[in-house]
Amino acid sequence: MLRITCPHCGVRDEVEFRYRGDASVQRPPADADAAAFVAYVYERDNPRGWHHEWWYHAAGCRQYLQLWRHTVTHTIHAVGTATDTLTPPHGMVDR
């Protein structure tokens, strides 16, 4: 079970959160074509290593948190709110 340090609520158990997926994808502009939106909705990397992702604190502050999680060790690098600028783990760049 992951333990996520919510910037609002402190260290909380994974069961309070809902995983919302890849935080590196961004919604295309409104005038983008269907292919861009298909990529936004469906296309995901499945990395072995660091992953930038959204976690929704459903049973807490109801805020979307962004964090970097290592998919092998489950180490969490940094946690921030939706508008924070997180420093990626060493060697990682966000898309």
Binding site: L2, R62, Y64, A82
Partner: protein
């Protein structure tokens, strides 16, 4: 003296307190402190069970949690418990113990004939034999296998009772800085080092007392006492015994099951002891879980009377029991000699020690006290049917040496560190050639391993290892306070740790060649030949060989023979053990009852219940309730089954007036300068043009273009909206709104507040709805001019300040009133009271479903996650301009095609035929092609017979045609006419009346 084999005083048993229990109906006397196994051994018992596959006679193999053979069923006044290891069950007066897996009796087991057909039951037997035909599996093979192969038996009636008589406590959540698992020499030394250092410590021990291996060596009593005294001085250091850690999880989370001592359970016989799940969160873990003594694969190594050498020492020290009168020790290492020497000193005649090594330090000590040691020799066969009678000894080159008469064989193939938790926590295994074992290592960020689990064998070595690991962890955690001055080990002359005896290296020995079955897994009856066969048939990976042969998949999880099987596989592969490895152990590492995991969350306490604010009033009206998510919704205000009460409520709405409770609708308050803009983005239709004081029906899409939810949203002010969701999608919609607001458009100033629980909402529907409402709102102008269709206004209802909406789901003139939750009962009752002269009836979810199905309104039955706006006929609601969620992908050709399943109305041709929700729609000309299904259906109060809604391929183009609604499950086939879903009052004249 409570059993002929009780030869001395045990550390745990109380000779002044005899206890009597029964084993297979026979009365057995033991002592307070005995386990079932120690009492049976004291009584001279050998045969205590039958094996899983071959039904071979089996005895007691261990003295602890890893017991593979002596599993028993327990019976007591509070119910039965199956599959309990006799080696850890404490006896109590009146406890009934029943052996397992034998029929009709333990000494005469008819199923033992399986042993004669052993070639049939080889590795992969289940996969190969019961392949076909499919039906035979369900009716013939599975019941037969279950009857023949099962271990313990759960009593059905008792399982039902457990909801009312739970055997478990509420789970406890613990937080600590350091979790020390295991209280042997390493664990105790580590905890003692941390005592007084300022960090919070939990020390867990699964045994009934702390001490681990120090309990088996009297020289360590003084040290143990001193260590426990030091530990007790620190109030921040908690020691829990009888607590088995069952799993290690990410981020320092561990699960453990604590068994309450008999004294906490009334002291009487309890088959199922009270258990408490503990979820422990720790900053660091210190694993001092010790090691398990492993088996040697030699012929007949499963005979009753063959036991781990260390177990024999445990029975002597802990319970004062000699497990045999003239035992043979077969060992490849020096540690096991301690058992033989201790038994010898207690007066037991050791028949011989058989050791493949040419010489050793321990052998010299044994010889010095007069014990015969056969060097360079191996036990090639253990013989005797229901108990051990003789062993055959040969020289290492195979030359027969001697036959020894004996009544017990103590086996020791070395020790394998108890590494399961280390592996789960994220540690690694390192092969140690000197120990012929895998030692466990944890990275610093997780904690440390210490003692035997880390490969430091010997009690004194373990204390040094434990102290060092504790110091490292304390430093990492930044403990600044100096340890308590008394909390130092080895400084006082009376409690200095005794030195470890000199030991010679072991000789790796996995398998002794010979005839007859040599087992590597005693519980699942897996032999060395099964492992080789798995390899021959291509299952060469350790994980594949494990599953194919079931080796290591029994309740002991390969603790005794796991490494043996891996070694046999390695030999077959021509590789080394480190190349083959061990299979990954998963939680739970020890058998765990469902009851312990469930805690108090059983029956009515399984999930929380959300009750409507006016729940008490619905109960008073004799409502039948239906669960909807966590909600309990009034289904119908009657206890009479069938449609009659539902249709009576529906008719009241169509002909007079009904009052319904819609409080479970999701309600989200949306405020802010950008609220209108946000809703334009959330909904596919437009809300920025909505006038203050008005409501509008809206549909929202997911980004993939399918419908997410629908509902009415009202504009209460220029920057203030109240959004409603369906009951089912409330949580999902709220999460969606937050995502769009926080992540996609954080620049918009919008505040979302879930007010579902703050407002009760009632609908008043029917031609007399206005009359009713006027009686509770005497001063209010309710005319069509003042309160037109889709009005949303502040109002006082029965004197309570709230909101009035003119919206309709039933197709009738209808209003909804919202009042604060704490006034719900009052307003609900006022509405019913006011409506009494008008013929009002309360109506439930079933009647609401009848009314909306007739009107052609959709619910989550139709909004099934795959439907689009085009499918439901909402395509004209899609905004032509402006961005909104799902806009681009909703226009994909595949989502707008007229061949997709579209919403239609359904009516059986025969008026006495009914519809079944979920029935499949087929064309009689092509009856095997599913072209749609019935999503909603009800008897009608508007027309004769049933009506329904469905999703039908190209549905709008099929209106007027006839299809079949078939439900093979119900054996029904009904001819239906496809009609428009909006056949009732399509002009909305009644709604606008």
């Amino acid at each position: 003296m409570s059993g002929p084999r009780r030869i001395t005083t045990g550390l745990l048993t109380d000779a002044s307190r005899p206890v009597e229990f029964s084993f297979d109906g026979r009365r057995v006397r033991g002592l307070h402190g005995d386990t079932v196994a120690s009492a049976l051994l004291a009584d001279g018992a050998r045969l205590v069970g039958r094996s899983f596959k071959y039904h071979r006679p089996r005895g007691i193999v261990t003295a602890g949690h890893e017991e593979p053979c002596a599993l028993v069923d327990l019976q007591s006044a509070d119910g039965p418990a199956p599959n309990r290891p006799a080696t850890i069950v404490e006896i109590a007066d009146g406890l009934e113990v029943v052996s397992q897996n034998r029929w009709p009796s333990l000494s005469f087991d008819l199923m033992a004939v399986n042993g004669l057909f052993a070639p049939l039951f080889s590795a992969g037997f289940y996969y190969k034999t019961f392949m076909w035909p499919g039906k035979a599996w369900e009716r013939l093979f599975e019941p037969a296998i279950r009857r023949a192969a099962g271990l313990g038996v759960l009593d059905r009636a008792e399982r039902g009772q457990q909801t009312t008589q739970p055997h478990t406590e509420e789970p406890v959540h613990d937080h600590t800085d350091v979790l020390v698992i295991g209280s042997g020499a390493a664990g105790l030394a580590a905890a003692r080092r941390l005592a007084g250092s300022g960090v919070r410590v939990m020390l867990l021990e699964r045994d009934v007392v702390a001490g681990g291996g120090t309990l088996l060596d009297p020289r360590w009593a003084a040290w143990r006492t001193a260590a426990l005294e030091d530990i007790a001085t620190d109030a921040r250091l908690r020691v829990l015994t009888r607590t088995q850690v069952i799993g290690a999880y990410d981020h320092g989370v561990f699960a453990a099951v604590e068994t309450l001592p008999p004294s906490a359970q009334g002291g009487g016989a309890a088959a199922s002891p009270r258990e408490r799940l503990r979820v422990i969160r720790t900053r660091r873990v210190l694993l001092a879980t010790g090691a398990n003594e492993r088996w040697i694969a030699c012929s007949g190594n499963d005979r009753p009377g063959v036991m781990q050498a260390g177990a024999a020492l445990a029975y002597l020290r802990r319970y004062g029991v000699a497990v045999a009168e003239r035992p043979v020790l077969f060992t490849n290492n020096d540690w096991a000699y301690e058992s033989a020497v201790a038994l010898h000193e207690a007066g037991v005649r050791i028949a011989a020690i058989v050791d493949p090594r040419p010489a050793s330090a321990a052998a010299a000590r044994a010889t010095a006290v007069g014990i015969t040691v056969h060097h360079g020799a191996m036990v090639t066969a253990i013989e005797g049917r229901r108990e051990v009678r003789t062993v055959q000894v040969a020289r290492s080159d195979g030359q027969a040496l001697t036959t020894i008469q004996t009544d017990g064989v103590l086996l020791s193939g070395g020790h394998q560190p108890e590494s399961a938790l280390a592996t789960q926590a994220g540690g690694s295994l390192q092969w140690r050639e000197d120990l012929a074992a895998f030692a466990a290592v944890l990275p610093d960020r997780l904690g440390a391993t210490a003692g035997a689990v880390a490969g430091s064998f010997g009690l004194a070595a373990a204390t040094r290892d434990g102290e060092a690991a504790a110091s490292r962890i304390a430093a990492v955690l930044g403990s600044t306070r100096a340890p308590d001055t008394r909390a130092r080990s080895g400084t006082s002359p009376t409690d200095a740790p005794p030195a470890d005896p000199e030991t010679s290296p072991l000789l790796a020995l996995w398998e002794v060649p010979g005839r007859g079955k040599a087992f590597v897994d005693l519980q699942h009856d897996v032999t060395v030949e099964d492992i080789r066969q798995a390899h021959r048939e291509g299952y060469t990976h350790i994980e594949h060989a494990k599953r194919y042969s079931t080796h290591g998949m029994a309740t002991d999880q390969g603790r005794i023979g796991g490494l043996l099987g891996a070694a046999v596989l390695a030999a077959a592969r021509g590789q080394t053990l480190p190349e083959v490895g061990l299979p990954t152990p998963r939680p739970y590492i020890h058998p765990t009852t469902f009851g312990a995991l469930a805690g108090g969350e059983v029956g009515a306490h399984l999930r929380p219940v959300r009750k409507f604010p006016a729940h008490a009033s619905h109960v008073a009206l004799d409502a039948t309730f239906v669960p909807a998510g966590l909600w309990l919704r009034p289904l119908v205000y009657s206890q009479t089954p069938g449609w009659e009460p539902v249709l009576r409520e529906s008719r009241a709405v169509r002909e007079a007036v009904g009052v319904g409770d819609a409080s479970s609708l999701g309600k989200v308050d949306v405020q802010g300068p950008d609220a209108a803009r946000f809703l334009d983005y959330i909904y596919a239709n437009r809300f920025s043009t909505l006038a203050v004081g008005k409501a509008r029906y809206g549909i929202m899409l997911r980004e993939d273009g399918c419908l997410l939810d629908d509902g009415t949203t009202s504009r209460l002010g220029e920057r203030h909206f109240l959004l409603t969701t369906t009951t089912a999608n409330h949580t999902a919609v709220l999460e969606h709104l937050e995502f769009q607001s926080q992540v996609v458009h954080p620049e918009w100033d919008v505040q979302l507040t879930d007010v579902t629980d703050q407002w009760a909402q009632f609908s008043i529907a029917g031609p007399r709805a206005r009359d009713l409402l006027q009686r509770v709102m005497p001063g209010q102008d309710l005319s069509n001019t003042a309160v037109p269709f889709m009005a949303a206004l502040p109002a006082h209802i029965a004197g309570v300040r709230g909101r009035l909406f003119r919206i309709s789901f039933s197709g009738e003139l209808a209003y909804e009133v919202a009042v604060p939750t704490d006034r719900a009962d009052e307003v609900w009752n006022a509405l019913l009271e006011a409506g009494r002269p008008l013929g009002v009836l309360p109506y439930g979810v079933d009647a609401l479903n009848t009314l909306r199905t007739e009107k052609g309104h959709v619910t989550t039955a139709e909004l099934d996650g795959n439907t689009t706006a085009y499918d439901l006929g909402f395509e004209r609601m899609l905004k032509a301009d402006g961005d909104y969620v799902g806009r681009v992908l909703a226009r994909r050709p595949g989502l707008t095609s007229s061949t997709r399943r579209q919403l239609v109305g359904l009516r059986p041709i025969r008026k006495d035929a009914k519809l079944v929700a979920g029935a499949i729609l087929v064309d009689p000309a092509a009856p095997k092609v599913n072209i749609g299904d019935v999503t909603s259906c009800t008897p009608s109060v508007l027309v004769e017979g049933w009506v329904g809604l469905g999703l039908l391929a190209g549905g709008r183009g099929r209106i007027g045609s006839r299809l079949l609604a078939v439900s093979p499950l119900h054996g029904e086939s009904t001819e239906v006419e496809i009609i428009t879903p909006h056949w009732f009052d399509p002009e909305n004249a009644r709604v606008r009346a």
